[in-house]
């Protein structure tokens, strides 16, 4: 029997969990600038995240999906995408959204149950969070199709979790990206869990990156806790897409260090031991250790930055909390470019009802 196809998946990693280089570093990683910048933003993201969880616990935010453990993926990505690229995120990419200019208070507004959290003009053409799993993969292909049709040197980047790779949308997306050679990059945040379902139950495939093989596109596996490896992988993929060399799939191996959302209790289904081990590999400490060892970052800088970051987050929270709710008409006013005649009567009712005051179920 002739072999008619051969494929392989390789694994990219530079830093050990202890922050030591495992092989020669890329040239750019021999300089402090980018990596300290990256680190600062990872700390900012984590601080914002802690605050968001705290807000939820005190009833000031809705159900919230923590970004804990995704910093090594989202922060490099946010720094590397061009402003004119298009981010088509899932619901865990607040760090990347922030780096692309979305004000922190808008992020909170979204998780506070307000559509205006998707409306920040700084979001440009970026998509809002996608709640229906994996649907964003396909939107990214649609965006990439538009970019390709118009011959623009822009890239559509989309993210999803390991669980999402089981859904048709993700798989159909990979396939059309390959068939049409679209300028799109798929990043899978393989954080080992889809709520309570472990990675092993999602697929019999030993890697998720090999789903790229099924679609005939480029795929690789990367240590998602290693910001250096992630930058390398993302840069290559962005560059290829931008140059018309086709799509890529990056499986970034990470770990969901938080509960699935604030509505979840992960102790019901995963062991403390596993979680404790995962913390040994986490991206923020890893990069900090590396920077320390390089002499590019020290405790004083850390303290100063922590203070700075805390006050940035605090003022964002204040702006968020000061945002008055939308008027009831807002239910109607963005449904269509122009409200159809037929809906005017209901809009009136809604306003009258709101004026009459208290609805039965108090907010």
């Amino acid at each position: 029997m002739d072999t008619v196809f051969e494929g392989e998946i390789r694994y990219r990693q530079y830093l050990s969990s202890q922050g030591d280089p495992l092989s020669a570093l890329p040239v750019w990683a021999q300089q402090p600038e980018w990596l300290t910048h990256c680190y600062r933003n990872m700390v900012l993201a984590r601080t914002m995240d802690n605050k968001a969880v705290a807000l939820q616990r005190t009833g000031q935010l809705g159900t919230y999906a923590s970004l804990l453990g995704i910093e090594g993926i989202d922060v490099p990505l946010g720094l590397l995408m061009h402003p004119e690229d298009v981010l088509i995120p899932y619901y865990r990419n607040h760090a990347c959204q922030m780096l692309r200019g979305m004000p922190m208070e808008e992020i909170l507004l979204y998780w506070g149950g307000d559509e205006r959290g998707n409306a920040a003009e700084q979001q440009g053409e970026d998509f809002p969070n996608s709640v229906p799993i994996a649907t964003q993969s396909m939107h990214a292909c649609g965006v990439a199709t538009a970019l390709k049709i118009r011959n623009e040197k822009r890239v559509a980047v989309t993210l999803c979790g390991d669980g999402a790779t089981s859904k048709g949308d993700f798989l159909e997306g990979l396939n059309v990206a390959g068939a049409w050679q679209l300028p799109v990059v798929f990043i899978v945040n393989n954080n080992q869990w889809a709520i309570s379902v472990p990675r092993a139950l999602q697929s019999g495939a030993p890697t998720l990156a090999q789903k790229a093989i099924g679609a005939g596109i480029r795929g690789e596996q990367v240590d998602g806790n290693d910001a250096i490896a992630m930058r390398e992988a993302i840069e290559i993929a962005l560059e290829r897409a931008r140059e018309g060399k086709g799509p890529s799939l990056i499986e970034a191996i990470s770990y969901r260090l938080s509960d699935h959302t604030t509505a979840d209790d992960a102790t019901r289904y995963r062991s403390n031991d596993e979680l404790k081990k995962a913390w040994e590999h986490e991206p923020v400490k890893r990069l900090r250790t590396f920077l320390h060892k390089q002499g590019w970052w020290d405790e004083t800088q850390e303290t100063i930055w922590q203070d700075e970051v805390n006050s940035m987050v605090q003022s964002a929270v204040e702006r968020y909390l000061a945002t008055p709710p939308q008027p009831v008409e807002s239910l109607f006013d963005y449904l269509y470019a122009e409200l159809p005649e037929q809906l005017r009567e209901q809009r009136e009712w809604a306003m009258v009802k709101a004026m009459k005051g208290g609805t039965h179920h108090e907010s």
Binding site: D114, A263, V328, L331, L335, Q346
Partner: protein, 328 residues
């Protein structure tokens, strides 16, 4: 035998456990239904009790859940699939509409699909986007399906037993707003409640209030409050949305001459439209006033900060009742 007071959610769990115990063909599948016992805990303890061959955590794919369920049911199992939230049922619709609802008809009875698809639905719990819609119309319009909505722990228990035992596909929509809202003693004796029939929850002579699911709470509240003003409301819980038992509603309206229909779903082509249309078709002469519909708006369910504006409330129902009674 359990007859403690339990919640609707516990009643669902009890009915599932009861049928799994009785019939080894009953199996459960869905996202997070196993070790986690479901994100709402509806399947809590079942995997431990019945093993992971009968309680299956699936990969994350609703079309797949729908398709697996059809295949399993055609093989004589009685699969009960959980769709985590009704807002995620859409990828499964092709299997539900094109296959589950048609297998018996398509094969003239050679194969069939004795399956249940459970999904929590409706608003009012301040959940994220897509977690609060009421799109029962999409299923209720499909011939060959049954769509059932319980409104109390006891009805959840009895109707779910019937749904599982039913030889045809049943969509079982669970109003999550009242999952834990109140408790009621439920005897775990395997006694089913009939499908395809309304339940009259309160008798009355002035007006008929028709609702289902979580809105039964506000509907009964309205009836209670109106009673203080000597307005006597009959309250009907539709329970099976499709096929719809219009006979009970018609008989009630023949008596009261007036009707208010209450549902959370959007108004345009909500199930209330069918009820009102059939009322006028079959009982125009009984109607002393137009049947009014108190419903969600024809808008997208807003994010939770404004969701209570979308949802009908007790005051709305009372206003509609008064308006109907004043109609001349």
């Amino acid at each position: 035998m359990n007859h403690e007071a339990i919640t609707l959610l516990e009643a669902v769990n009890l009915a599932l456990a009861h049928e799994m115990e009785q019939d080894e063909n009953v199996v459960i599948l869905g996202e997070d239904v196993g070790t986690n016992g479901g994100v709402f805990r509806a399947t809590a303890g079942l995997k431990e009790r019945f093993g992971n061959r009968r309680v299956m955590d699936t990969p994350l794919a609703e079309a797949m859940i729908g398709g697996l369920t059809v295949g399993m049911a055609a093989q004589g199992l009685k699969p009960i699939a959980e769709i985590q939230f009704m807002g995620f049922i859409f990828p499964a619709l092709e299997h539900i509409i094109c296959h589950a609802a048609r297998m018996r008809n398509r094969t003239r009875g050679r194969l069939s699909c004795p399956l249940v698809i459970r999904a929590p639905f409706g608003g009012g719990i301040h959940a994220p986007e897509h977690h609060s819609e009421s799109t029962e119309t999409l299923l209720a319009h499909i011939p060959g399906l049954r769509v059932v909505v319980p409104s109390s722990p006891a009805r959840a228990y009895g109707l779910l037993l019937s749904a599982i035992r039913n030889p045809d596909p049943v969509i079982f929509l669970e109003p999550k707003r009242i999952y834990r809202a109140s408790k009621q003693p439920v005897l775990d004796n395997g006694a089913a409640l009939p499908l395809d029939t309304c339940f009259t929850l309160r008798e009355g002579s002035d007006i008929t209030l028709v609702s289902w699911g979580a809105m039964i709470k506000e509907t009964l509240e309205a009836a209670e409050q109106l009673a203080e003003d000597n307005i006597s409301c009959e309250v009907i819980d539709v329970a099976t949305i499709s096929p719809l038992d219009m006979d009970t509603i018609l008989a009630s309206v023949a008596k009261t001459g007036r009707c208010v229909i209450v549902h959370e779903a959007s108004r345009h082509l909500g199930v209330g439209a069918e009820i009102a249309a059939t009322l006028v078709e079959k009982a125009l002469m009984d109607l002393q006033a137009p049947p009014l519909r108190i419903t969600g708006y024809d808008t997208v369910m807003p994010y939770f900060r404004l969701e209570n504006h979308f949802m009908p409330n007790t005051a709305d129902i009372k206003d509609a009742v008064r308006q109907t009674l004043e109609f001349v």
